[in-house]
Symmetry: C2
Subunit: 135 residues, 2 copies
């Protein structure tokens, strides 16, 4: 029987206002363990593409309708999720308006790129965002 | 209980000779269904990164020691694998020498980019290689 890690998607959502001014990215406060701040994301369902999963999860957790702009990377270290081995496929996407925390997210807020609280980020989301800032 | 698609890796192996001349890419003839030509690849094991899985699978199927140069893309259409839903993470990599078909590969051969037999490729490997040629 085939056994592989779980597959998840995470989104780096770039927020713009209606005049196309960049406002920052979205982080959520997690309702479930591990507690802390995280990129919005979740598991891919059987029967949906990773892009569909990303759009669904961003809507569920932040109420935003995102447009995917780029594949950022794949993060797969076995210990990146303290619960079990999860491979995360990370996309960069774009959205307009204010995020609202829903579902697994107690809160969803916009953070300026210069004010990301790295010490509060769970999983390897600090590493993902450092890679994003460097490119 | 969490259920997600399986995670696999596939490699576009660029072969160079000892004078760094590009010779083509590697395709394998599959030993198991679906029968046909394919990129070398396989499932990610729990406890290994996708990069480790790629290096292991390339060695198992082609006997080549590859160096990963780039993430090519993520392919996740539910019907891309006729057996079940598999998300494939595709890397571009580099290797020297002659491939030898092993394990799941009945044969492993070098194909010039201008001579890829698209009609014989299984899964969505034709699409993956068309994306590769276009970029």
């Amino acid at each position: 029987m085939i056994k592989t890690p779980f597959v998840a998607v995470d989104g780096i959502i770039k927020i713009f206002d209606k005049d196309e001014n960049f406002k920052g990215i979205v982080l959520i406060e997690r309702k479930n363990p591990p507690y802390g701040l995280a990129l919005p994301g979740g598991f891919v369902d059987i029967g949906e593409t990773t892009e569909e999963a990303l759009i669904r999860e961003m809507k569920e957790e932040t109420d935003l309708d995102v447009i995917i702009t780029k594949l950022h990377g794949v993060y797969s270290k076995p210990d990146r999720d303290p619960r079990f081995h999860t491979v995360s496929i990370v996309y960069i996407c774009k959205a307009y308006g204010e995020p609202k925390g829903k579902d697994d997210a107690k809160k969803a807020s916009i953070y300026k790129l210069e004010e990301i609280p790295f010490e509060k980020l769970v999983f390897d989301h600090g590493k993902i965002l450092k890679d994003f800032l460097e490119r």
